[in-house]
Symmetry: D2
Subunit: 357 residues, 4 copies
């Protein structure tokens, strides 16, 4: 049986490259030869043991590749095509998919009810930080890369662009809205870009790192606030003449940003949460107006599926959002440990890395 290199989780603190068998494909699957992939903040949670996955699992959930083989029931694609698949891989046939919440497809399969959402790659099945990855329900998940787009140009589509834009979409942004985005890591930067793409006119980016605030301006922020130097609530009230924000996007996953996001909202505003939290959250009574302020708190898991990927690549192709500056470092797959070391310590101003098997 043919072998490949794959980055596997061994134990907390150790993700290493190992030899694994190239997967066998079932009737609905596709086998991709991975040409470019990347590391996500969630992978760092896995590395640190904060998010549990099975030992020996291949990690990674952002594949760009070429179709190597197709399952017997797969139609509409052919071997050799350049494709991407989303980080979340809905089946298409589940009740969740048919209810309009395809990201929650298969939610119950791992830890029981509602535990993890429909994220499979590098979570419940082998992921794509490897030479090959098996894509389940290929017809629902493979999307052709348009000619003329490079791997790096579409590398953000599977996860951070879909997630960041999703946070803006779930906020139901309207023309003329004020949107505050808390944290300007890769997801937050995409949320900032998404807020602009949807018609917000006052976009306030909050972070503590000047370089990230600077990047936020490139992504569309009209104002920036240093979370440590200024009270973001006061700043938002000042900028909006006391109206408050229509939408606040949380893109960090901490109590302090969650709470600040709630506090900056106008009555009937929406807190759109993208963060992956690691402890219970508190909703302060006052910020919640005792439940009387028509506030909304919505959470969004990265939307997946072939059509979503097609649309995100159309955004790239249109030139309306340029995420190339987010790829700050490049590694070969056999440098995976070095890449994790850099990315997990957020050294050298890293935003995203590109990994090439």
């Amino acid at each position: 049986m043919a072998k490949m290199k794959a980055a596997v989780f061994v134990e907390p603190g150790r993700i290493v490259l190992e030899d694994k068998s190239i997967p066998e494909i079932g009737p609905l699957d596709a086998l991709l030869r991975v040409t470019t992939t990347t590391i996500c903040g969630t992978d760092v949670h896995i590395l640190k043991g904060e998010y549990p996955v099975a030992r020996g699992l291949t990690v990674g959930h952002e594949p760009v590749g070429v179709i190597d083989r197709l399952g017997s029931a797969v139609t509409g694609f052919r071997e050799g095509q350049r494709v991407i698949a989303g980080a979340i891989t809905p089946s298409g046939y589940s009740a969740a998919c048919q209810c309009g919440c395809s990201s929650q497809d298969g939610a119950a399969e791992k830890y029981g009810f509602k535990a993890i959402g429909g994220w499979k790659f590098g979570n419940t099945i082998d992921g794509c930080q490897a030479e090959y990855v098996l894509v389940p329900d290929a017809m629902a998940n493979l999307s052709h890369v348009p000619d003329g787009l490079t791997d790096e140009e579409v590398l953000m589509c599977p996860d951070i662009m879909s997630t960041g834009f999703g946070g803006a979409e779930s906020g139901n942004i309207r023309i003329g809205d004020t949107v505050v985005v808390f944290a300007q890591g890769p997801i937050g930067l995409c949320a900032t870009a998404g807020a602009k793409l949807l018609g917000a006119t006052t976009i306030i980016a909050v972070d503590t790192v000047p370089a990230r605030l600077e990047m936020a301006r490139r992504m569309g922020a009209s104002h920036t606030v240093d979370f440590r130097a200024n009270d973001p609530v006061g700043e938002v009230m000042r900028i909006t003449d006391g109206r408050g924000a229509d939408v606040a996007i949380e893109a960090l996953g901490r109590q302090e940003t969650f709470e600040a996001a709630l506090r900056v909202l106008r009555p009937a505003g929406t807190l759109s949460s993208l963060g992956v939290y690691s402890s219970d959250l508190k909703i302060p009574l006052g910020a919640f107006a005792a439940g009387l302020a028509d506030l909304k708190i919505v959470t969004t898991l990265c939307p997946g599926g072939a059509e979503r990927m097609r649309r995100l690549m159309a955004v790239v192709q249109s030139g309306r959002v340029d995420l190339k500056p987010l790829v700050t470092h490049r590694f070969r797959l056999d440098q995976i440990e070095e890449a994790y070391d850099l990315f997990s310590h957020q050294r050298d101003g890293v935003l995203k890395v590109a990994l090439t098997p």
Copy 2:
């Protein structure tokens, strides 16, 4: 200057009947002669000093009455007409009204930003537990009572029917949904009725009082769960074959029901919160799936305005919802202290009282 009787807040523990001047009307106002009103759970919070209002304020926010005088700028109405006004009285011209969140009209006027929502009667202006009440922005708020409907039949429209239905509406209930309603007080019972009205097919009412669970069945519940005797999460999972609830409505205002409402949800479900809370809330990490489950938490303040009232009275007139059984006790206005005593201690199976000046 002519005098009237009015129930005023004196100090925590004391709401008493006093003589006050009949209000002077401004150009946009209407003066109603109150014919029937009622006491709300929020009034009990005021009585106990848990919700602060100015000393000397007339309490009450659920008026049925007859137009006594109209402001000089008011058109479309005439003196002598039977009308109701909602508990929440949007102006019509505020930014909040024009943004689709009219309940938050004037939200900033009392305690600062986002403190109280747009509730005015018995909160920021004199209320209707009195012989007369002044209705602000009369054209936006007065609604004719159709011939053939009694005062008691429309007495629930201004607040609990609008609030309870609002909780069901904010949950975005779809045909075939499973909806769980936590607490079957007057608001919860109306939420149960609202869930039925919107096409839910499995409606699970939760409470601890058998008589309220029995009333919930009359309002449309298909299942009832005793919160003390059974784990509501387990019961909901059993009833739904493990799918969980599409929508959970919180109608009590406590941590334990808020948390249970979150736990019974399916992935991508909606917690529709109606409760008036009195302390910070906790969102447990697991029930929130670390932010990854596409959950929504939405809060709703009683929708007001003349058109809302017209529609609720149309529901009464259609016979589709019968709230008459909720009026369990009747008092004259001069028995107001007795009425508060009964209602605040929840004696004699009281659900709602009717007060007649």
Copy 3:
């Protein structure tokens, strides 16, 4: 190769029972042994040659049956289970499905762009007026029949209940709405029931046949109007005190009802069209207010898919809508020609027939 009886389209005017091979199944398919099915108005269009299908095609698109065999890639089901499938059978993996318009899955496959919608059974593939039917994309389309429900109780789910309710849903009905339903055939009757299920309080059923208007009252109509005896526009204005209807549902497919549906609308109202038209439509300038009245015209093809079917069967199970009275006549499959003769001539007060192979 084993044979079965199947009703096939031979030529305009002739649908006859023939022997056909029991279908071979592909990896994603299921073979059902049909236990009950019915005839739809669309089948009559096919019979008359008004809607073209291939000669030799098995007609029918409303199957209740038992799983006989499952494709190699199908999981989650087992042979012998009682199931239904919707008239429309979305794949789950198409762009249409992932865009929230699964009814339009495969729309382009037959006559070119936008020609027919995603309806396959008895249109582009063999249908279910036969002893066996092959269900494509079985995982997306099979739905278990709950114990305790008879074949006839769920027979309306695949098409008319889904279509009629869909018309009400697309109208975005709100609590207290006035809804007018034009034509009270099986689809219109289900639209009437759907309007009630969604919270409309004034439901005006329009038809010319007294028995159908009587049935409309059983389905939830609060008012009935004889289209020939009265001007429906005048009647609606009278009933609504000149406000007009919030939503008008067209369930016949003719210019005169389409136009009347437009005329009864209030400004910013919605015409929800379910009819299958056979000629160009005219939008009168006045009824359209020259384009200035914020009117909407929406069309809905029967929503399909397993989750939809599960929800509709939940409605039946809840007892909230009772469609049993719609099954007025019963035939064996070998009486199919007799059944078409009765149904196509609308004799004996027929609403729907049940066919049992």
Copy 4:
């Protein structure tokens, strides 16, 4: 009584400047001293007698001005403030306003039911091509002009920007959508800009005038199609690889563009109509897929109200849309006849004129 100059409709073909009394204000009104206004295509319809208004009525509905006097019941404003008001002036208190369709406020007042929508200025009350204009329901309609914005920069807000954006909004545009805009007059150009503002990535502008197609590119069009030289349906199918458009916006008001807009749509697409039609419309059976394609046709009248104006001025202020190039010609109010002559004959590449009293 003080006099002013006003452009009044005398008879078909004649709009002339006359002396009129400066209006008396009622309690809810504001009197504006007009500083800049413009001429709309609808005014040309009035000039030609195609759209009926009363003889002697002052025309014009796009005011920029300074508050001269305020009605006795008006609060929140003061004399001397620079403001705009929308072309449509909702009262705030009508049922239409409270139903979310404030543009239809007062719809029934002129020609009976549904005849004209809620447009008042220069239609049912005196308009703003004058030295002074009376704004009804001032609190609902006046919006401060932010410091730093010139009259001409906000001159498009009252009508064409609100209408054009409204067409894009009603189309419910999503990230990655393909939008086709038929006709690139001022409204169509704003619809093109609005489509870009809402996240469309393929924006196809259709017109017959090269200069307008060139301006469409400045407003955000990614592709342009000459309606006369090319079949727009074929072009759209070519550009979209046969998928068709998600949304088509009609901005001319003719059968041929309405029909083409329907034909370019994908299944389940939306035709968003902004045109003011002057004859009955035909919906071709094939383009409508006999009613089976889940298509939507939505119409939008210019959204008005103070909050809408505030948001549109925020768009201008953000620099995201630059409509200054649309003001191609400037006149004094006393040159009004010359201005109408130029504008109605579409001479000299005129797009919009600025008129200064």
